[in-house]
Protein backbone atom coordinates (compact mmCIF):
# COMPACT_ATOMS: atom_id res chain seq x y z
CA UNK A 1 0.00 0.00 0.00
CA UNK A 2 1.41 3.44 -0.84
CA UNK A 3 2.25 5.73 2.03
CA UNK A 4 -0.74 7.74 3.22
CA UNK A 5 1.40 10.87 3.60
CA UNK A 6 5.04 11.83 3.73
CA UNK A 7 5.61 15.03 5.68
CA UNK A 8 8.55 17.20 6.69
CA UNK A 9 7.83 18.90 10.01
CA UNK A 10 10.37 19.74 12.70
CA UNK A 11 7.71 19.50 15.39
CA UNK A 12 7.21 15.86 14.28
CA UNK A 13 4.12 14.49 16.08
CA UNK A 14 1.86 17.30 17.31
CA UNK A 15 -1.71 18.52 17.03
CA UNK A 16 -1.56 19.35 13.31
CA UNK A 17 -0.47 15.80 12.55
CA UNK A 18 -2.59 13.86 15.05
CA UNK A 19 -5.80 15.88 14.76
CA UNK A 20 -5.38 17.34 11.27
CA UNK A 21 -3.60 14.97 8.91
CA UNK A 22 -3.96 11.50 10.41
CA UNK A 23 -7.78 11.36 10.15
CA UNK A 24 -7.75 13.12 6.77
CA UNK A 25 -5.42 10.59 5.14
CA UNK A 26 -6.89 7.75 7.23
CA UNK A 27 -3.51 6.90 8.67
CA UNK A 28 -3.28 3.86 10.92
CA UNK A 29 0.42 4.11 11.73
CA UNK A 30 2.58 7.16 12.43
CA UNK A 31 6.26 6.61 11.70
CA UNK A 32 8.92 9.08 12.78
CA UNK A 33 12.07 8.47 10.74
CA UNK A 34 14.87 10.23 12.57
CA UNK A 35 18.27 8.87 13.64
CA UNK A 36 18.31 11.39 16.46
CA UNK A 37 14.85 10.56 17.82
CA UNK A 38 15.37 6.80 17.40
CA UNK A 39 18.50 7.00 19.55
CA UNK A 40 16.96 9.16 22.28
CA UNK A 41 14.65 7.56 24.87
CA UNK A 42 13.36 10.99 26.00
CA UNK A 43 12.30 11.89 22.46
CA UNK A 44 10.72 8.48 21.90
CA UNK A 45 8.70 8.76 25.11
CA UNK A 46 7.53 12.25 24.12
CA UNK A 47 6.40 11.18 20.68
CA UNK A 48 3.99 8.61 22.02
CA UNK A 49 2.43 11.02 24.50
CA UNK A 50 -1.19 11.74 23.61
CA UNK A 51 -1.33 9.71 20.44
CA UNK A 52 -4.82 8.19 20.31
CA UNK A 53 -5.00 4.44 20.99
CA UNK A 54 -6.19 3.56 17.48
CA UNK A 55 -2.99 4.91 15.94
CA UNK A 56 0.15 2.82 16.01
CA UNK A 57 3.31 4.82 16.44
CA UNK A 58 6.90 3.91 15.77
CA UNK A 59 10.20 5.67 15.63
CA UNK A 60 13.09 4.32 13.58
CA UNK A 61 16.34 5.31 11.91
CA UNK A 62 16.25 6.62 8.36
CA UNK A 63 17.95 3.47 7.05
CA UNK A 64 15.36 1.33 8.80
CA UNK A 65 12.53 3.46 7.33
CA UNK A 66 14.01 2.99 3.86
CA UNK A 67 14.29 -0.76 4.42
CA UNK A 68 10.64 -0.91 5.52
CA UNK A 69 9.58 0.97 2.37
CA UNK A 70 11.72 -1.23 0.11
CA UNK A 71 10.57 -4.59 1.46
CA UNK A 72 6.94 -3.60 1.95
CA UNK A 73 7.05 -3.90 5.74
CA UNK A 74 4.23 -1.36 6.06
CA UNK A 75 2.05 -2.80 3.29
CA UNK A 76 -0.77 -3.69 5.68
CA UNK A 77 -0.80 -0.19 7.23
CA UNK A 78 -1.66 3.29 6.11
CA UNK A 79 1.58 4.97 7.11
CA UNK A 80 2.03 8.67 7.78
CA UNK A 81 5.80 9.09 7.54
CA UNK A 82 7.40 12.06 9.28
CA UNK A 83 10.83 13.62 8.84
CA UNK A 84 12.25 16.42 10.99
CA UNK A 85 14.00 18.08 8.06
CA UNK A 86 14.53 17.91 4.30
CA UNK A 87 17.92 16.28 4.67
CA UNK A 88 16.46 13.26 6.45
CA UNK A 89 13.84 12.90 3.70
CA UNK A 90 16.59 13.04 1.05
CA UNK A 91 18.63 10.39 2.90
CA UNK A 92 15.54 8.18 2.97
CA UNK A 93 15.04 8.62 -0.79
CA UNK A 94 18.73 7.90 -1.43
CA UNK A 95 18.40 4.70 0.58
CA UNK A 96 15.51 3.53 -1.58
CA UNK A 97 12.40 5.21 -0.13
CA UNK A 98 9.90 6.33 -2.75
CA UNK A 99 6.84 8.57 -2.81
CA UNK A 100 5.13 10.75 -5.43
CA UNK A 101 4.97 13.85 -3.25
CA UNK A 102 6.09 15.28 0.06
CA UNK A 103 4.08 17.62 2.24
CA UNK A 104 6.31 20.39 3.58
CA UNK A 105 4.56 21.17 6.84
CA UNK A 106 6.84 23.12 9.10
CA UNK A 107 10.49 24.10 9.31
CA UNK A 108 10.38 26.72 12.00
CA UNK A 109 12.57 29.70 12.73
CA UNK A 110 16.31 29.13 13.02
CA UNK A 111 19.13 31.69 12.94
CA UNK A 112 20.33 32.67 9.44
CA UNK A 113 17.30 31.17 7.73
CA UNK A 114 14.94 33.14 5.49
CA UNK A 115 11.22 33.18 6.24
CA UNK A 116 9.15 31.85 3.34
CA UNK A 117 5.81 31.52 5.09
CA UNK A 118 4.50 31.44 8.67
CA UNK A 119 6.13 28.14 9.57
CA UNK A 120 8.70 27.76 6.82
CA UNK A 121 12.27 29.03 7.19
CA UNK A 122 14.96 27.95 4.74
CA UNK A 123 18.60 28.52 3.86
CA UNK A 124 20.61 27.78 0.72
CA UNK A 125 21.56 24.33 1.96
CA UNK A 126 17.88 23.42 2.48
CA UNK A 127 17.13 24.51 -1.07
CA UNK A 128 19.86 22.29 -2.46
CA UNK A 129 18.35 19.33 -0.62
CA UNK A 130 14.83 20.17 -1.84
CA UNK A 131 16.27 20.35 -5.36
CA UNK A 132 17.61 16.82 -4.96
CA UNK A 133 14.12 15.65 -4.01
CA UNK A 134 12.67 17.50 -6.97
CA UNK A 135 15.15 15.79 -9.32
CA UNK A 136 13.88 12.43 -8.09
CA UNK A 137 10.50 13.47 -9.45
CA UNK A 138 8.98 14.19 -6.04
CA UNK A 139 6.36 16.92 -5.97
CA UNK A 140 6.75 19.29 -3.02
CA UNK A 141 3.65 20.92 -1.59
CA UNK A 142 3.62 23.40 1.27
CA UNK A 143 0.65 23.03 3.59
CA UNK A 144 0.34 23.06 7.38
CA UNK A 145 -3.13 21.50 7.52
CA UNK A 146 -5.21 19.42 5.09
CA UNK A 147 -7.77 22.17 4.53
CA UNK A 148 -5.16 24.83 3.75
CA UNK A 149 -4.67 25.46 0.04
CA UNK A 150 -1.75 23.32 -1.17
CA UNK A 151 1.04 25.57 -2.46
CA UNK A 152 3.70 24.42 -4.90
CA UNK A 153 7.01 24.72 -3.07
CA UNK A 154 8.93 26.30 -5.97
CA UNK A 155 6.11 28.69 -6.93
CA UNK A 156 5.83 29.83 -3.32
CA UNK A 157 9.56 30.45 -3.21
CA UNK A 158 9.52 32.38 -6.49
CA UNK A 159 6.67 34.54 -5.19
CA UNK A 160 7.90 35.25 -1.66
CA UNK A 161 11.70 35.04 -1.67
CA UNK A 162 12.88 35.24 -5.30
CA UNK A 163 16.35 36.25 -4.09
CA UNK A 164 16.81 32.97 -2.19
CA UNK A 165 18.68 30.63 -4.52
CA UNK A 166 20.22 27.21 -3.91
Amino acid sequence: MPLALVRIDDRLIHGQVVEGWAPRVQATHLVVASDQAAADPVQRALLSLAVPAHLRISCCSIQEAARCSRVGEWDADRVLLLFANANDAALWVEAGGTCPSINVGGLHYAPAKTQVSTALFLNHEDLRVFQQLQRKGIRLEVRALPLDPPLDFWELLAQTVPHLQP
Binding site: D10, H14, L49, A50, V51, H108, A119
Partner: protein, 135 residues
Amino acid sequence: MIGLLILTHGRLADEFLATAQAIVGKEPGVAAVSLLAHEGIPQLQEKFRQALGALPQTDGVLVLVDMVGGTPSHAVLPLVQGMSMEVLAGVNLYMLVSALAHRGHLTLSALTQKVLDDGRRSVVNIKEAFLSKLQ
Protein backbone atom coordinates in the same frame (compact mmCIF):
# COMPACT_ATOMS: atom_id res chain seq x y z
CA MET B 1 7.00 30.87 47.18
CA ILE B 2 6.31 28.34 44.44
CA GLY B 3 6.95 29.78 40.99
CA LEU B 4 4.25 29.40 38.35
CA LEU B 5 4.93 29.17 34.64
CA ILE B 6 2.24 28.90 31.95
CA LEU B 7 3.34 27.58 28.58
CA THR B 8 0.94 27.41 25.64
CA HIS B 9 0.30 27.59 21.93
CA GLY B 10 -0.31 31.08 20.59
CA ARG B 11 -0.88 33.88 23.07
CA LEU B 12 -3.08 31.82 25.36
CA ALA B 13 -0.50 31.91 28.16
CA ASP B 14 -0.33 35.72 28.21
CA GLU B 15 -4.10 36.00 28.22
CA PHE B 16 -4.55 33.31 30.86
CA LEU B 17 -2.14 35.17 33.10
CA ALA B 18 -3.67 38.60 32.48
CA THR B 19 -7.17 37.26 33.10
CA ALA B 20 -6.21 35.33 36.23
CA GLN B 21 -4.48 38.41 37.59
CA ALA B 22 -7.66 40.36 36.99
CA ILE B 23 -9.36 37.87 39.32
CA VAL B 24 -6.80 37.36 42.09
CA GLY B 25 -4.59 40.41 41.66
CA LYS B 26 -1.18 40.94 40.19
CA GLU B 27 1.30 38.62 41.84
CA PRO B 28 5.04 38.17 41.59
CA GLY B 29 6.68 34.89 40.68
CA VAL B 30 4.44 34.07 37.72
CA ALA B 31 5.43 33.93 34.07
CA ALA B 32 3.73 33.23 30.75
CA VAL B 33 5.51 31.79 27.73
CA SER B 34 3.81 31.57 24.34
CA LEU B 35 4.76 29.39 21.38
CA LEU B 36 4.25 31.55 18.30
CA ALA B 37 3.44 30.09 14.89
CA HIS B 38 6.91 30.65 13.44
CA GLU B 39 8.79 29.21 16.41
CA GLY B 40 10.23 25.75 16.81
CA ILE B 41 11.05 23.72 19.89
CA PRO B 42 14.54 25.23 20.40
CA GLN B 43 13.13 28.79 20.52
CA LEU B 44 10.42 27.75 22.92
CA GLN B 45 12.93 26.00 25.17
CA GLU B 46 15.10 29.13 25.21
CA LYS B 47 12.11 31.32 26.16
CA PHE B 48 11.16 28.79 28.82
CA ARG B 49 14.68 28.82 30.32
CA GLN B 50 14.71 32.61 30.39
CA ALA B 51 11.31 32.80 32.06
CA LEU B 52 12.33 30.12 34.55
CA GLY B 53 15.49 32.03 35.42
CA ALA B 54 13.40 35.02 36.49
CA LEU B 55 11.15 32.96 38.80
CA PRO B 56 11.72 32.13 42.48
CA GLN B 57 13.17 28.60 42.64
CA THR B 58 13.44 27.95 46.37
CA ASP B 59 10.10 26.14 46.75
CA GLY B 60 9.98 24.68 43.26
CA VAL B 61 8.04 25.58 40.13
CA LEU B 62 4.68 24.41 38.82
CA VAL B 63 4.44 24.48 35.03
CA LEU B 64 1.03 24.48 33.38
CA VAL B 65 0.87 23.62 29.66
CA ASP B 66 -2.20 23.71 27.45
CA MET B 67 -2.37 20.33 25.76
CA VAL B 68 -0.87 16.95 26.42
CA GLY B 69 1.27 15.88 23.47
CA GLY B 70 1.42 19.39 22.00
CA THR B 71 4.64 21.20 21.19
CA PRO B 72 4.75 23.13 24.51
CA SER B 73 4.60 19.84 26.41
CA HIS B 74 7.22 18.32 24.08
CA ALA B 75 9.47 21.32 24.65
CA VAL B 76 9.33 21.34 28.43
CA LEU B 77 9.44 17.63 29.34
CA PRO B 78 13.05 16.99 28.27
CA LEU B 79 14.10 19.79 30.68
CA VAL B 80 12.35 18.67 33.85
CA GLN B 81 14.44 15.73 35.00
CA GLY B 82 16.35 16.47 38.17
CA MET B 83 14.54 19.76 38.74
CA SER B 84 12.15 20.72 41.50
CA MET B 85 9.39 21.13 38.96
CA GLU B 86 6.00 19.62 38.26
CA VAL B 87 4.15 19.84 34.95
CA LEU B 88 0.40 19.62 34.39
CA ALA B 89 -1.33 19.68 31.02
CA GLY B 90 -4.80 21.00 30.28
CA VAL B 91 -4.48 24.39 31.95
CA ASN B 92 -7.70 26.32 32.31
CA LEU B 93 -8.59 29.48 34.17
CA TYR B 94 -9.88 27.58 37.17
CA MET B 95 -6.60 25.70 37.57
CA LEU B 96 -4.60 28.87 37.27
CA VAL B 97 -6.68 30.72 39.83
CA SER B 98 -6.37 27.69 42.12
CA ALA B 99 -2.60 27.64 41.70
CA LEU B 100 -2.31 31.36 42.46
CA ALA B 101 -4.60 31.06 45.47
CA HIS B 102 -2.88 28.08 47.10
CA ARG B 103 0.79 28.27 46.25
CA GLY B 104 1.55 30.35 49.34
CA HIS B 105 0.63 27.62 51.84
CA LEU B 106 1.24 24.26 50.11
CA THR B 107 4.31 22.30 49.14
CA LEU B 108 4.97 21.79 45.44
CA SER B 109 3.64 18.23 45.43
CA ALA B 110 0.52 19.18 47.42
CA LEU B 111 -0.13 22.18 45.17
CA THR B 112 0.28 20.01 42.08
CA GLN B 113 -2.31 17.55 43.38
CA LYS B 114 -4.66 20.37 44.40
CA VAL B 115 -4.49 22.06 40.99
CA LEU B 116 -4.93 18.71 39.22
CA ASP B 117 -8.00 17.89 41.31
CA ASP B 118 -9.44 21.36 40.81
CA GLY B 119 -8.83 21.11 37.08
CA ARG B 120 -10.72 17.83 36.91
CA ARG B 121 -13.55 19.26 38.99
CA SER B 122 -13.76 22.30 36.75
CA VAL B 123 -14.74 20.41 33.62
CA VAL B 124 -18.45 20.00 34.13
CA ASN B 125 -21.64 19.69 32.14
CA ILE B 126 -23.12 22.72 33.85
CA LYS B 127 -26.49 22.54 32.15
CA GLU B 128 -26.96 19.06 33.55
CA ALA B 129 -25.71 20.15 36.98
CA PHE B 130 -28.01 23.18 36.90
CA LEU B 131 -31.11 21.21 35.88
CA SER B 132 -30.50 18.58 38.55
CA LYS B 133 -30.40 21.37 41.15
CA LEU B 134 -33.71 22.72 39.87
CA GLN B 135 -35.51 19.44 40.42
